[in-house]
């Protein structure tokens, strides 16, 4: 089963009425259960693409097909760059917000995911009482708790310090292996892309297009210092520095 994203043209119009194309002729096919990383320079329009897939922005030419074999539309969740939790809801209520079912079902699945991300004991605290790393964990729990078919992630760990980001990446990897959902992960960090993904799409900017589509088959957990990965990293670095 696959989902397809076909963007013919996505442009932003500035105050002077001049349109700038952000994405042009970009086609993506996502296989079910695949971890796809969109790797591209900052400001390339990667977040814009995620917003289109998430349905937050409908102003574009093209088509996004997210229907499942049973005809239903795939459930999408989106982890933003910032945690974006509701400050007036406890951590548990924040996760419950996105779950389906009766209140008690929602509560139990929220508590389940919060314990999986290591937030047992902090469920009834408010976001203002937690550290940045814990907020990211809560946002990660929320992203998984709604049982998404497609999980969109927009540089979710970019604002964390290195050890915290590493442990969250590892956590994400574990959760994803447990619950093989389709992931579209946006980043400009080459090492991060190489350790997490099944498939990396290397993107150009202005307008955004796919430069390379690379499949990674090596076993997880991966060591980014492996020869094969190092060679890929080197190649990506050059393509990103000089998108011919």
């Amino acid at each position: 089963m696959t989902y397809t994203v076909d963007i013919i043209n996505k442009a932003f119009v500035n105050d002077a009425g001049i349109a700038t194309a952000v994405i042009r002729n970009l086609g993506l096919t996502l296989s079910n259960g695949e971890f796809v990383t969109l790797l591209g320079p900052s400001g390339a329009g990667k977040s814009t693409l995620l917003n289109l897939i998430a349905g937050l922005d409908n102003d574009f030419e093209g088509e996004i097909r997210l229907s499942k074999p049973d005809g239903k539309t795939a459930r999408v969740s989106l982890m933003f760059q910032e945690p974006r939790l509701m400050p007036w809801l406890s951590i548990c209520e924040n996760v419950m917000l996105v779950c389906d079912g009766s209140t008690s079902q929602r509560r139990s699945s929220a508590l389940h995911w919060l314990s999986l991300v290591g937030l047992s004991g902090a469920e009834y605290q408010y976001p203002a009482q937690l550290s940045g790393g814990m907020l990211k964990r809560a946002a990660l729990a929320r992203a998984f708790a709604c049982e998404p078919d497609i999980l969109l992630m927009d540089e979710p760990f970019s604002s964390l310090d290195i050890p915290a980001a590493d442990s969250l990446r590892q956590l994400l990897s574990e959760l994803w292996q447990k619950r093989r959902t389709t992931v579209v992960y946006v980043t400009h960090d080459i090492t991060e892309a190489l350790t997490l993904s099944d498939r990396i799409l290397l993107l150009s900017s202005h307008p955004m297009q796919v430069l390379e589509d690379v499949r990674l088959t090596s076993q997880r957990p991966r060591n980014p210092l492996e020869n094969e990965l190092l060679a890929l990293a080197e190649r990506f670095k050059q393509s990103l520095a000089d998108p011919a």
């Binding site: 998430a54 349905g55 937050l56 459930r75 999408v76 969740s77 989106l78 933003f80 974006r84 509701m86 400050p87 007036w88 809801l89 209520e93 917000l97 996105v98 408010y126 976001p127 203002a128 929320r142 709604c146 969109l152």
Partner: protein, 247 residues
């Protein structure tokens, strides 16, 4: 004492009353009765049943006009806060309405609608609605679109989005509007009663004014202030604590 704000508030009232009593004892002014005299007078008015009667009428007027003004003002404020074009159209009208003196609205209402209950209520509502609308407009403008995007991206049902994501952003503004609203509405209601009603606290005060009965004026004021105080402490402040506890 610093750890007991409620106690401190009580104490400040006690100090105020003691100062009042001391001033009366020192200067024996003709036009300022002692607190004790006011209290005795108050009991008299309560026992005769006349104060509870007028107080109930006034409180009913306050409740009705306060609720109507909150409802209308919130709706108007949210609508103009979310729709820029409409705001542009209505902005000068709202500014004008804000600046028309309460007395003018009251007189016009009594002239146009007659000296009756409806006119009295309309006068108060028309006076208060613009203030609430302006506060709620600020609230609508401050609504964080990024948080609404979360709800949209996660396909949260509309009702739940409204209650858990949208409304909580407005609570501080509702509170501010309710606070300011209550304070203003009861003052305006008294003026309305003074000018065009034949019952209510405002009407009574105007009678006492004609008889130069200062003790009764103070007794009514005391009863009234106590009730507003109780509303503030018993309803508004607990509500505020509840909805803002996450801070």
């Amino acid at each position: 004492m610093h750890s007991h704000p409620a106690l401190t508030r009580m104490l400040s009232m006690v100090v105020f009353i003691l100062l009042w009593q001391a001033a009366v004892m020192l200067f024996t002014p003709d036009l300022l009765p002692a607190p004790y005299a006011v209290l005795t007078n108050l009991m008299g008015h309560v026992d005769s049943g006349e104060l509870p009667h007028h107080l109930t009428i006034t409180l009913r007027r306050i409740a009705i006009s306060f609720l109507c003004a909150m409802l209308l003002g919130s709706l108007l404020g949210l609508v103009i806060g979310h729709f820029k074009r409409l705001d542009l159209w209505l902005d000068s009208v709202v500014t004008l309405a804000l600046n028309v003196p309460a007395l003018v609205t009251i007189i016009l209402c009594f002239i146009w609608f007659g000296l009756n209950e409806t006119a009295a209520l309309i006068a108060v509502i028309v006076n208060k609605t613009p203030n609430i609308a302006v506060t709620m407009r600020e609230g609508a403008r401050a609504v964080d679109k990024r948080l609404l995007d979360v709800a949209k991206a996660y396909q949260v049902p509309a009702g739940r989005t409204f209650i858990k994501v949208y409304l909580p952003q407005l609570y501080p503004y509702f509170l501010a509007a309710a606070r300011g609203g209550l304070a203003l509405v009861w003052k305006i209601v008294l003026v309305v009663e003074l000018l065009g009603c034949s019952d209510g606290v405002g009407f009574q005060l105007s009678l006492f004014f004609q008889y130069f009965d200062i003790t009764s004026v103070l007794a009514y004021t005391l009863a009234f202030a106590c009730i507003i105080f109780a509303l503030e402490a018993g309803v508004l402040r607990p509500w505020e604590r509840r909805v803002l506890k996450w801070r």
